[in-house]
């Protein structure tokens, strides 16, 4: 639909579009490094109830004890002592765009956020480093009881809801980074959709890391009550710095009976961000959970969205796309845990490795005894752009029930010289030809994105493809 525009903008680059930084002034930031004191300070600044303070401190103790994961990507570059764990740009999230501080507004305007809200979103939240700086939900939705705010605000305003669910899907002891997030979390999105309410337009959150050596630890909690529907879209970017930043989010989703949640991520980090995210959903009877996960950029990404299919007839999907550029490692995948009969799942993963980039698919498919008539299908396709590009697959299957249908396929291909020549013979440059082949390869995922994002995704791929030829 927009490919001429895509081609026209082939020449600008990440640095210009997303890589700029603000000379931000912070109302408050913690000194580099993590300590019990830092955790307590974060809680105090936020004026949190005691239960949340305890939650954080328990998590901190677990974080100290947990070893670094060694089974996945190389995390030796993560230096917990160099990170700033909390930086607060504003007092509280603004409700109207005019209240947002000028420099932050400029950032998000450059990224096209308010414009998007006006056009097609039901609500928007924007997080700048640690804190949410803007959040707004359409009034009609608010009247129907839909809650959409930062998780900090939810702790203050809806403590019972938060307390009931937080840490129940991803326990604070799940892994080192989940523990870290639980200790120092700040911001993130809280959504509650009441029974039977369908939110027809996507709710969007935008996460921006601005400060160097920043840790962003948003905590997102989504509860779709019985028969509800919501589509949540998150986008992420960061400027380019020499010191690495850390993004360690936790996302917990509860999809109750007959409800459906779609969670779409378009992550476009600069290549100095460690992106280590735990995403998990519980899907109850006849519920549907869909993760659409697009990963571009970052230094290292480790992310395996999971669906626990807990009720009869629940359905889970992970549609993921990872682009590993030069020197990047995308270690992504999916986990489908079938604990109930007649549950179904679908995993479709597409990865692209460019230059010395490496894309790994790491998946777990587990069927518990008694989960009869499970149908599960996993397919992962890898596309390699250069001879030095790398891909690998680590699919794990633990099937403890006989009466099931499991499908698995994996393919690895190189961008074909004959395909490139064919497209070039029609007047496309080599770069345009490869970009078109790559965009075609990920089309099954991109077509799941809202139109505006699909256009943006094709554009991002074009940016990534720049200079890939020659």
């Amino acid at each position: 639909m927009e490919e001429t525009k895509v081609l026209e903008t082939l020449r600008d680059d990440y640095a210009e579009r997303y890589g700029f930084r603000d000379e931000a002034t912070y109302l408050y930031e913690t000194p580099r490094g993590l300590s019990r004191r830092v955790v307590e300070e974060i809680s105090a600044i936020k004026n949190e109830p005691e239960w949340m303070r305890q939650f954080r401190l328990r998590a901190y103790e677990i974080f100290l004890k947990k070893p670094m994961p060694t089974w996945g990507a190389d995390l030796s570059g993560v230096d917990f002592d160099r990170i700033v764990y909390y930086a607060r740009p504003t007092d509280r999230p603004a409700r109207s765009w005019d209240e947002v501080p000028e420099y932050i507004k400029r950032t998000f305007e450059r990224l096209g956020i308010p414009e998007a809200e006006r056009k097609f979103l039901a609500g928007v939240e924007a997080q700048y480093d640690s804190e949410s700086v803007y959040s707004n939900v359409r009034e009609d939705l608010a009247r129907m009881g839909v809650i959409f705010c930062s998780t900090d605000e939810a702790v203050q305003k809806y403590p019972d809801l938060v307390r009931e669910y937080i840490g129940t899907v991803v326990s604070i002891a799940d892994n080192k980074f989940a523990a870290l997030n639980s200790a120092v979390w700040s911001g993130g999105t809280f959504i509650y959709v009441p029974p039977g309410v369908r939110v027809e337009y996507p709710l969007q959150a935008y996460f921006r890391i601005n400060r160097e050596a920043m840790g962003q630890f948003e905590r997102t909690l989504i509860i779709a009550d019985e028969g509800a529907f919501v589509h949540y879209v998150e986008g992420c970017t960061a400027p380019i710095y020499t010191e690495d930043s850390l993004h360690a989010a936790v996302v917990e989703i509860i999809v109750k009976r007959g409800a459906r949640v779609r969670y779409t991520t378009i992550q476009n980090w600069s290549n100095n961000v460690y992106n280590l995210v735990t995403k998990r959903a519980f899907a109850y009877e006849e519920a549907t959970m869909e993760w659409v996960d697009c990963n571009i950029g970052s230094k290292v990404t480790m992310k395996y969205p999971a669906v626990y299919l807990l009720g009869r007839g629940a359905h889970g999907e992970v549609l993921s796309m990872a682009f590993a550029g030069d020197g990047q490692h995308q270690d992504t995948g999916a986990k489908m845990i079938h604990r109930a009969p007649y549950t179904t799942s679908l995993v479709q993963s597409k990865s692209i490795s460019k230059g010395t980039g490496r894309a790994s698919y790491r998946g777990l498919l587990k069927v518990y005894p008694g989960a009869e008539h499970v149908k599960a299908n996993v397919s992962c396709d890898a596309l390699l752009l250069h001879d030095v590009s790398r891909t690998d697959t680590y699919p794990t299957m633990e099937i403890q029930e006989q009466n099931v249908h499991i499908g698995h396929e994996a393919t690895v291909s190189k961008v074909g010289d004959e395909q490139i020549f064919y497209l070039m013979s029609r007047g496309l440059s080599e770069e345009e030809a490869i970009t078109m082949i790559v965009n075609g390869f990920i089309e099954p995922i991109v077509k799941e994105l809202p139109m505006e994002y699909a256009v943006e995704m094709n554009r991002l791929i074009a940016l990534e493809m720049e200079g890939s030829v020659g």
Partner: protein
């Protein structure tokens, strides 16, 4: 000089010389047929003209619109107005026919200093061209050549040609895989484009296509050289007698 002039072209594949000095001149408005036994180098010539990197040019020149195009990249040749209908078109998963064609047409238009088409405008043009070639409109939204039948792929090649409006087109066995009706439709498509603005080199094995696309000249490629050129009657003779008589004749003149 002719509009397309091939001079003593030599091409090697993996060190084996396939074309051993081909000379050929094609003008706009002319239809040339290129025939020859399997493996004689016809597709090699087509690919080399288009600039396939696999085919190594070991000698000669190809002049088109005032330059030796052997120095140009394939896309530059295409934007200049050269077109190749492939014997085996590639499948491009996930890229719709309409998206691809608009990008291709706009690349050519921009090279000619024309405004690129917007999606709507292009959709109308595409529709009309598809109708003319009796291609179902649903093909516009299918992935390029993916799962197309042999004949559908060939029709798609001609659709591309009719949209790109080249000045010189090489059709490599476009007739193979076409049913009788499709052959006529494709031939009509080609005939409607040939004229003062386009010249064609039709590679084929059969007279059947040449009944519809009537050549002004017929050439025979054998063992990497054009060994005979003539009028339409040469194709009829080949159809009736095969290539052996020609080979025998050549051998006798060589030894004489």
């Amino acid at each position: 000089m002719a509009d397309l002039e091939i001079r003593d072209l030599r091409v090697a594949v993996e060190g084996n010389e396939i074309l051993k000095g081909v000379n050929l001149a094609v003008n706009k408005g002319e239809i040339h047929a290129l025939m020859g036994p399997n493996g004689s180098g016809k597709s090699t010539l087509a690919y080399a003209l288009m600039g396939h990197p696999f085919y190594e040019i070991t000698g000669g020149e190809v002049w088109f619109k005032g330059q030796n195009i052997l120095e140009l990249e394939p896309d530059e040749r295409a934007r200049l107005g050269l077109f190749l209908a492939f014997q085996y078109p590639q499948e491009i998963p996930g890229v719709t026919v309409s998206k691809f064609l608009r990008a291709a047409v706009n690349a050519r238009r921009q090279a000619m200093g024309l405004e690129p088409y917007g999606p709507y405008e292009f959709g109308l043009i595409l529709n009309e061209k598809m109708e003319r070639l009796r291609i179902d409109p649903s093909f516009a939204f299918r992935a390029l050549n993916e799962g197309f039948s042999g004949g559908e792929k060939k029709r798609m090649e001609i659709l591309q040609m009719s949209l790109l409006e080249p000045e010189m087109a090489v059709l490599d066995e476009t007739d193979s895989g076409l049913d009788i009706d499709a052959l006529r439709i494709v031939a009509d498509g080609v005939n409607s484009l040939v004229g003062p603005n386009m010249g064609v080199l039709v590679i084929t094995h059969y007279q059947r296509l040449l009944n519809y696309i009537q050549p002004h000249f017929v050439h025979v490629l054998m063992d990497g050289r054009i060994v005979r050129s003539g009028g339409p009657e040469l194709a009829l003779e080949l159809e009736a007698r095969g290539y052996d008589w020609l080979r025998a004749e050549l051998e006798s003149t060589a030894t004489a």
